[in-house]
Each structure stands twice: as C-alpha cells, then as structure tokens.
Symmetry: D2
Subunit: 281 residues, 4 copies
C-alpha cells in the first residue's frame, strides 16, 4: 500500500533536515552529503521509515507532498511561495473539477499546485510567452509527475486567452493591468481573478485599471507574512530572520454585465412570489 515502488518520486530527509528528491530507478544511487542510498534498497520500503546510507546515517523516506514539489521546483524566476499558494487556492476556490487559466507559467510551481488541487476532472491552462521559461516549467512539471490536467500554451496573452467561462484566472506577469479585459473575456460570471505583484506601483496601476473597467466585485488586496519558530520546547522563540516580502496579492470576482432593469418591478412589491416566477424563467 504505502510502499515505495519503482518509478515513484521520493523525498528523503537527512538527520539535519536536508532534503533530496529522486525518482526510483533500479540500479541507481542517490548521493547525499552523508553517503549514498541505493534506489533498490528504497524500493519496497514502507514510506515514513528510516533508511540508512552506506555510511549508516539515518534518513527518512517520504512521498513528496504538493508543498515539497513546489519547494523543489528549479527556478529561473521569482516563484510563488507556499504561504501565498495556500491562500490563492482557497480564495479562488480552486477545488476538484475547476478550470483555471494562468499566465505566466513561470517555473511552474503554482501550476503544479493548482493541477493537484483540481484533479481528476479539472484543468489548468497555463500561458507563457518565453520559450526558456516554458522549457523549465515543462521539465519541472514532468519531474513532479507529469502534465496530466495541464495545457501549456505559448501565446502572447495580449491576443487574449482561448478559454471561455473559466472558473478562475491568475496573472503573475509584470503588467497585469494590460490584460484585465482579456481576463474578463475568459472568466465566467462570478469567476475569480487573482494577481501577484511585487511593487506598490504595480498594485496602484492594477487597482486603477480595475476601477476604470468596473465590473469587478469582492476586491481584496492582501499580503501574507509567515514567521517560523525554532521548534524547541524549552527555548521557544521565532527564527531570527524571515521573508519580509514576496508580493501583494489582489483578488476580485467578475461581475457578469451591467443590469438595465430591476429584477423586481416596482409595482409588484406586495406580490413578489408570482411575478418573480414568471420573470425568473
């Protein structure tokens, strides 16, 4: 059940919490700073168990979580961090079955987390203009288990997105305000828009465009700070240093269209039940 098998992607953690990730392949070895582990010795082991390197150092054998996979992504750009990813998934309702558009793909970390959250019936459409980034992202996604449920696209998003009625759309690009109209076109009514920008100037520009366009509701601008503690019972204290900033998150939901007449006729106030039925059809 819970046994490491050939072709599994595994995580091993050293006594000092150094992490290694590899895909189990017969006759291969994983080299660590404390000796090597033979893949063949790992295959068939229970996950969570202790395995010893040839120098007898105890490592823990684990299945990598989405979190581990995201942290393990090879980066050539600033990645979206787990502290933001968790909130993005929850805030944009990225749950099993949803269809999500993303631009740019970047290193693919957020793509990966989203794809794992929408399985098995959802789908991630991810746009990236730069060939080098797309290549990195593809490699990262393949290493993490493949592109099931992910469509990578090379489009310049100025031309718009292919999708319509998407449940959610996330922009991690330098000038997200240039693509708000395209984002609106791709989203369903009530669909979730999200964006991450590092500077306050970008945030002001994005807010300005949201105000100009109208047609957005439930706007939230937020930053998330995470403070780690040294996990020592009798000398409990925060770590000395922390990440002070990755970016500002902005969320909004698409308003479908401007209404031109009230759904309740003014003359019918005492009699809504009937009237509404006829109107609501």
């Amino acid at each position: 059940m819970n046994l490491a098998q050939i072709n599994d992607l595994v995580l091993v953690i050293s006594p000092e919490e150094k992490r290694y990730m590899t895909r189990l392949t017969p006759r291969q070895q994983l080299h660590t700073h404390l000796g090597f582990l033979a893949h063949d010795a790992l295959i068939g082991q229970t996950y969570g168990s202790v395995v010893l390197t040839h120098l007898k150092h105890p490592f823990i054998l684990l299945q990598p979580s989405t979190f581990d996979l995201v942290m393990h992504v090879k980066r050539i750009s600033q990645i979206v961090y787990p502290k933001e990813i968790g909130y993005i998934l929850l805030r944009m309702n990225i749950v099993p079955g949803t269809r999500v558009v993303e631009a740019g793909t970047g290193s693919g970390g957020l793509t990966l987390a989203m794809a794992r959250a929408v399985r098995p019936t959802g789908r991630i459409y991810t746009y990236e203009e730069r060939d080098d980034m797309r290549a990195i992202a593809q490699k990262n996604l393949e290493r993490a288990g493949g592109l099931d449920g992910i469509e990578m696209k090379a489009r310049d998003i100025r031309e718009g997105f292919d999708e319509r009625d998407a449940d959610a759309l996330f922009l991690d690009v330098r000038e997200p305000w240039l693509f708000l109209a395209q984002a609106r076109a791709a989203l369903k009514g009530g669909g979730f828009f999200g964006s991450l920008v590092p500077t306050t100037n970008q945030l002001s520009d994005l807010l300005q465009e949201l105000e100009t366009q109208r047609g957005w509701t439930d706007i939230e601008v937020v930053e998330i700070l995470m403070r780690h503690y040294k996990p020592v019972a009798e000398r409990l204290r925060p770590e000395d240093r922390m990440i002070a900033h990755t970016g500002f998150l902005l969320f909004a939901r698409k308003v479908a269209m401007q209404v031109d007449k009230p759904v309740v006729e003014s003359g019918n106030e005492g009699n809504e039940g009937n009237e509404q039925t006829s109107e609501g059809g």
Copy 2:
C-alpha cells in the same frame, strides 16, 4: 450552465460589500438592509450578474466559494481562519483522494474546507466530544451543501481514533500533546500531523511531547499574519488594524518505526545494485 437554480446556495453582495447567503427556494425572499430580493427573481439569473432589490439597490449574485462558506459558518468557538486553512491544506497535502482525520470538529469550518479539497474520492473523519458543538457543526455543514465525504464521530479521542493509515490528521484541541500517541496510531508512515494552539505554553508542551515520543520528522512551527490594504489606487495603504494572532501552527510527519538494521549491508558497499534488489522485496 452558470445560472442560479432552485436549491442552489447563493451569495449576494451589497454595494458596500455586505454579504448574504441563502438557499434558493421558490416563493421565498431574502431580506437585506437595502430591501428584499425575491428568490424567484434570482432563479435563472446568470451568476456574477447584478440583481436589484425592491428598493433598486444593485447586488451581485454569486456562487459561494469554499472561502465564503468558511467565513459564513456560525461559530460558538474560535474558528480556524482562511489564512491558516489555505496553508494547512497545502502543507498537509490535503488534495483530491486523501483521507483526513480531524479533532475537534468545532464549528466545522476546517472540516468543510478539507471536505471540498479531497473530493470526490477522499474522506474526512471528524471527532467532536461535545454534543452542542457537533450539532452546530452538522447544521453548518448541511447549510453549506451536505456531509458528502464527511463522517462525524462523537468519540472522546483519548480512546483513540477508528482510522488506520490516514494520510493526514489535524488536532484543534486544548491539549493536543495528550493525543499524540493516538494520532500516530491513526496515521500512515509519512502521514501528516498538524495542530493549532493559541498560546506559547501549549506550543512548548506539544513540542516537548513530540521530542519525547520521537518518531516525527519535518517539524515546522509557524504563524501566519495577513495584512489587508485599502484597495484605492491613488491612496494605497494598509488597513489601520489587523488580526495580530489566531494561533501557532505546528506540522510534522510520522516516521514509521525505528529501523534496527541498515538497509545497506556493510559488506556490500561496492555492489549495491544487486544486493539492494534482493533486500528491497
């Protein structure tokens, strides 16, 4: 497709972002501070569209997200907030198909978010000793769409959990350190343990017990701070006040058992490939 239908749970947002949630039922009305909305007028409307109260105030009709549902939960206890929930789901790998144990159920907010994340094949086993809490939670979960994938249990968890090989287990109880052995018994090797405690004294006690028990790895202690900004382009600034504290999060993964022999025999160091195959079976 994206139309409000009878029996849908809907969210309507007022011009000043006041929120109302209701289940669409023919002939009923939703009363707001700016007039009422007839359910019959909402049924058949496109989600994301503007609807007018009988006093002509424009509201937006939306499908509630998991986030909205969590925030809408009726509370008789401190709830776990979205800023924590998002990270919990990601950090504990609560993705489609996983089996999660939770205690206590509390108001059911985290239960709800977890259930939505593991669909359609996963399952949440949630324990709550107090009858009043369980009643509230059940009502909250039913209001939010039912208990599909959720099993509520009345057990005192001192006696242990029914489950074995759970993927993840979360303790939101006053003295989580008392139930670590029970948690270990319920988790699979490498399974995720999480807990939320409000005081540093509780955190020290929990860390102390983790150290004493051994058999845990990848320990992380963290607090999450969220700072909102007023979404105004030309006067951008953080809100005046923020939540300073809800609780400290602790995460760990279960180490399956202590190993008594190295997985690599010392005599075989030059020849791992073959040997490992025979051992690894």
Copy 3:
C-alpha cells in the same frame, strides 16, 4: 523627594488599568468610574503608592512619563504613535541640546516628546498653518507642563522656515515633497530629515523628489509594527488585534553641497600618492 506636590501633573491607574491624568489643585476632586479621589489626599503621597477612592478602590498614583503624556494628548488629527516616536528620536539624534524644526505641529504629541528629549538647552521650532490645530496643540502642551523650549509658529511653510543650521527637521504634512528645498535650507550639513506619510503614493512622490534634488544621503524607509502580548504567564499569547499601519517613515541626511574640487588639492591630482604618503605618515 518622590512626593506628589501641589501643581504636579499626576497619573492614576485603576485596578483594570484605566488611566486618569490631572494637575493637583487643593480642594479639587478627580472623579473616576470607581469613585472619586480628593486632590488634597493625593498631595504629599509618595509616587508609586496605592491610593483609595471614596469607594475604597485601589488606584496607583504615578508621575506621567513622556510616553503617558503623548498618549494623553487630545487629538483632532492622526497622531504620531510612541512606536514611531521612539525610533524618530533615536534615528534623528534628537538628544539634549539639539535644535529641531517640525511641521506641522498637529496635536503636539511629537512636539512634546521632542521637547522633553532636548532639554534643557535644545529647542523645538514647530510650524502649523491651521489655527484650530495650533490652539489644540498649545492646550495639549500647556496641560503637559508648558512650552519651555518650544516655539510655535503660524507660518505657511511654502515660504520656508526661519531657522538655519537646524540639527533635525521633521515633516508630518500631506505633501512633504513640496517642502524639501525649504527643509534643506533650514538644515545644517549632515542634518537629519524625517517624514511620516500614510500612503505608498506619497512615499513614492517623496522618494521621487529626493532623487531629483540629490543632495541627500543615508536614506531609510521603514515601517514599525508593534505586537502586544497578554501578560499572563501560563497562557502567554499575542493580543488578538493590533495596529496594522500608521505610516511609512522616511529618513535622510543633508549633503552640504556638491563638491567641485577634491579635498586633495587640485594641483596634486596627478601626484596624490606622494602627497598622501607624506600626509598619512
């Protein structure tokens, strides 16, 4: 020595830490929510001692600190908070003997703290255009012990400041970037400039003007967050809520002038090595 005397400004703190401030005047009474205290009964008491209201509730009699006085200021505008004041005083080297220019005076809280820090030989020159603000500030300063060392001025600072060679200058105005040239004219070489602005847009404008003007060094932009804890040994935890934002602080020091010649005589430019060597010996 440490006895409350007629005309002293005193602070009394109730059992639940409610604070009252009054100036001791024979035959007067201080009315609290737990009964009254006769001033005559306070006069002659040792500071720090317990005094009982006529309903027998124990209050503590204290001399107000600068901190207490600042917090007690009557406000008709946003005040500068102690968390910022402490850092401003230290960062701008506002120590005994320094001459400081300030605009606007606002409610006078920062003025008061600066005046107490520069005594007995320093001086605070504080500008405020609005008559109502100046009246409030004057009242606040008089209540707190008088205007010794403080000069209040009604000038519109667009016309510049009267002072030259000031040690430090602080702008707490809506558009500080409009007055940077005036600030430079008032400051001595190496003098400290500081400003507090609530929005990121103002901060960008101020930074833009600093970059344009040149002639500033040691620029620092910072925000200060303060998190309080409930002071309970066995249930230690941060307070639930905190101030998320008062403003962004910017500091810089004035560069005296652009140099047109090296401090090594121009005639020696081709020959510094020798000169320096002979000098450096």
Copy 4:
C-alpha cells in the same frame, strides 16, 4: 561651527552606503575599499560635505548619531537593536536628568544610547559580571566618546544594586526573574522596570515572578518588528528579508508599597476637602 575638528569622531559613507567611523588624528589615513582619505584633508571640512578619496570616489563626511554609534559597537553578545532602544528610552522615560540602572552592560550599546539621552545631569549605573564583556563595553564607550555620566560596576547583581530611588532599571540578563526583588529595592516608587528576553519561556518565567511578587503596575509585553523598503520611487517595495525576532520587551512600574488604610476615611465622604488636608500633610 559645523566643521570637522581634530579629535572628532566622524562617519564617512561611500557611494554605495558603506560606512566607516574614525577619530580625526593629524597625519593619519582612513583606508576604504575605494581608496584612502587623509584625516588632514577632512579636518576643517564642513559636516555633510562630499570628500574624495585619493581614487576620486565621493564620500560623505558626517557626525555620527547615537544611532550610528550603537550600530557601530563591537559585539561579542547579542545587542539591543535601535528598533528596541528607541521604544525603551521613550517607554521608560529616559530623558535628560534621569538616573538609570542597567544590567548587564553587554557590549554597551544600550548603555551608550541611554547615556546620551540623560545628559548632562542624568547618570547610568551599569552592571556587568563578566570581565571580558566589561572590557569590550568600556572600549566601545570610549571609542564613542567617553564614559561621561556612566558608572561601570563589576558586581554580581544577585547581591543587589548600590542605587536607591532610581528612575528606571533595565535587565538584559538570562534570568531576569531572579533579580526582581533587587530591582524593586533600587527603584523609586513609580520607577520604570524594563527587560528584554529572547524566548517565550523566559517571558513566562518573568511574568510569573511579577505576578507572585505583586507590587508592579502598568505591565506591557510587546515585540517590535521593523520592515525596511527599497527607497526607489517607481518600484517601491519592502526589502526581501527582515529581522523576525530579537526579543520580547517587558515593562512595568513599581508600586511603592501596599496601603493599609484608605486615604479617604469612610466617615468623611461628604467632607473630603478638610479631611484630606489634614491627612495629606
């Protein structure tokens, strides 16, 4: 006036904000990574002016502030940072003329800041048991301008402090709760107690002892976070990293003694004026 003179302690800042501090001495040179500056060329220069190294790199010549001196202290222990020092000085009312007791001296950074704040009539009594620390602190204080107003003491504070009726007392020691009685003995009624501890366990211990002893009021526990911004107008954003923790600050004021009789006799409630006068004498 504002001219650098022989024997002045000066700060020079490089184009990239690297800082050098030195005392001006004829015929000496200050060596920087961008060439040297002859002290003789600096003597007589206006503070705030640009000075060129022999390689023609422009540096700014400044008088170091208290802040600069604190940051420049040679450390063999964790120092108290300016973000805490500013608040300590304000919160503990360390203004011109006050008498402050401190233990331990550590590297002398806080000692130095306090000494500069209480001039010319105040006094700092600083205790340090360790000879090596005391030597470092003395060297740091001498480099920064001497020990005027500072008394260094080698006492083990378990034996108590020499001072009585001190205005303020600060404990920066590992187990401050062991010395609370000694602190009380040294403080005047209403005097300010402060302490800095890095762990929550220490904070709980200190709070426990404060509760046990009684006789303290106006207790505040607080931590101060400082977030720096990159000072770039058009790409404004916080720095990537920040100090997450230096320590928890605790403040309290000494209650002089337990009262045994009400200051208002119960029979005199209608007649306070006269009674109080007789009592208050």
